[in-house]
Every structure is written in C-alpha cells, then in structure tokens.
Amino acid sequence: MELDFNVTELPPHDAPEEGDEAPDFVRPLVNGEYWEETALSEVVPALVVFYPMNGSFPATYIWQEVRDRSWTDETTVVGVTVSTPYSHKRFLKEYGLDGEARMFADPSNAVAREYGVAHDLDGMRGVEEPRPAVFFVGESMSVEYAWVADEYPEFPPYDEVENALP
C-alpha cells in the first residue's frame, strides 16, 4: 500500500532469532470445542503466530490469509494473543479455522513479553497485546524461522513464511 506519509515505527524488539531456543510456556490452548492448559513444547513442531487481539483488523487479515493458504494442511499452527478462551472459540468459528488452527489465550500478555514482542497500546491504558510476529519452532524448541513486525501496522511476509514451512 502506497501512502504519502511514513507509517509509525515500533520500537526495537528483543525477540528470539533463528537458532535461538524458543521460550516454553503454558497457557489455555483453545480449539473449536474446548480449552486446556497446554505447553508450547507439547505441540511443536509448530508455526507460532503472535497477533493483535481478536476483533482488530490485523487479526482478521492475518488469519484469513493463514486460512486461505491452507498452512494447517502443512503443519501445526497456533496463535497467541491477549483474548480470552471464549473469544478465541468464536474467532476460530467465525473465520473457518475451527478444527484447523488453535489459539493460546494470554490475557496478561506475559508470553508476548517473554518473547520480546509486547506492544503497549496508545489510548487504551492498561491494555497491551502482541505485535505481529511469526516463529517456526522445531521439535527441539529451536527457532527455525523468525519474523517480527517493525511498523504499526505491518503484516507477515506470507510467501517467506510459507517457504520456511517444512
């Protein structure tokens, strides 16, 4: 998209890079039917997609693209954001991801902070969320691919991500 002004830049991030070990975490993991506490290390290898809260247009755009590219046919895909399990369940249904992708509910945003991809929202005091970030985490928890948004908004380089899938 060509704009005649500069898009807002996000501050530097401290996310894991390719070759680093991905931090493990446990959060409720939501599918179309229920949720249960699950560790990331239990679902790897997986594509881990940090994204802005359900309801924001970046969330919609990102997950429609993931769905339309059928990445869940290739690998396990999990999302991470601050929305509640109830919201995740509806989101999965609304965008036809029910039975395809699963979402970690992280209302405290602590997982995004641990990954160095937290984003404080201007004008929504007390609310933060992840900035868009995509990691492919291998079976041994090594980061095999990493991308983190530098602008607000910015969307994942989908073709590049797709090439990084096994």
Binding site: E33, Y34, E36, E37, E42, P85
Partner: protein, 87 residues
C-alpha cells in the same frame, strides 16, 4: 495437554457441581487435566462424544476405564475408588 493416561475433567467455569468434583480430586491428591467447555449446551459436542450427554462435570479416569457424569456419581466413585470407603 494431557497424556492419554491422565484423568480428564470436563468442566464449565464457575459451575458449582464441577467445583465440588475439583474439591474431591484435590482432597484425594489426584492429578487431573481440565478441559473447559462453554455454558451453552449446544456447544458441548466434545462432552457428548465422551459421555453420551452434554452435561458437565464429566470425569474420565484411564486408571479404571471409567467415564462418569453427574457430580454425585463422580464423588461416590472417587470416595469408593480412592477414599478407602469415603469421607
């Protein structure tokens, strides 16, 4: 995410019948994995697949192969199985 040999409790957030079972499991120091479902009955097909009905709580206990519905049944089962006759 549970191993297949772990007890699983299908539960609804803030459901008093479910919490009654949780107290009992904790009282007997039994490990279990929680699967939370939605308040709406029509949204509980996962529960129906394991127990035949959409009511919660449901306890699945691989140690004995038991799948139980209704908190009174579950409590009676736990007392008998793990409580040396009950408490």
């Amino acid at each position: 995410m549970p191993d297949n040999d772990e007890r699983t409790l299908y539960r609804l957030q803030a459901c008093p019948f479910c919490e009654r079972v949780v107290r009992k499991l904790e009282g007997y120091d039994l490990d279990y994995n929680s699967r939370f479902v939605e308040p709406l009955h029509s949204e509980r097909d996962a529960v129906k697949r394991v127990s035949g009905s959409r009511t919660v709580p449901v306890l699945v206990d691989p140690e004995t192969g038991a799948t139980l519905s209704e908190s009174a049944n579950i409590v009676r089962y736990l007392d008998t199985q793990y409580g040396n006759g009950g408490s």
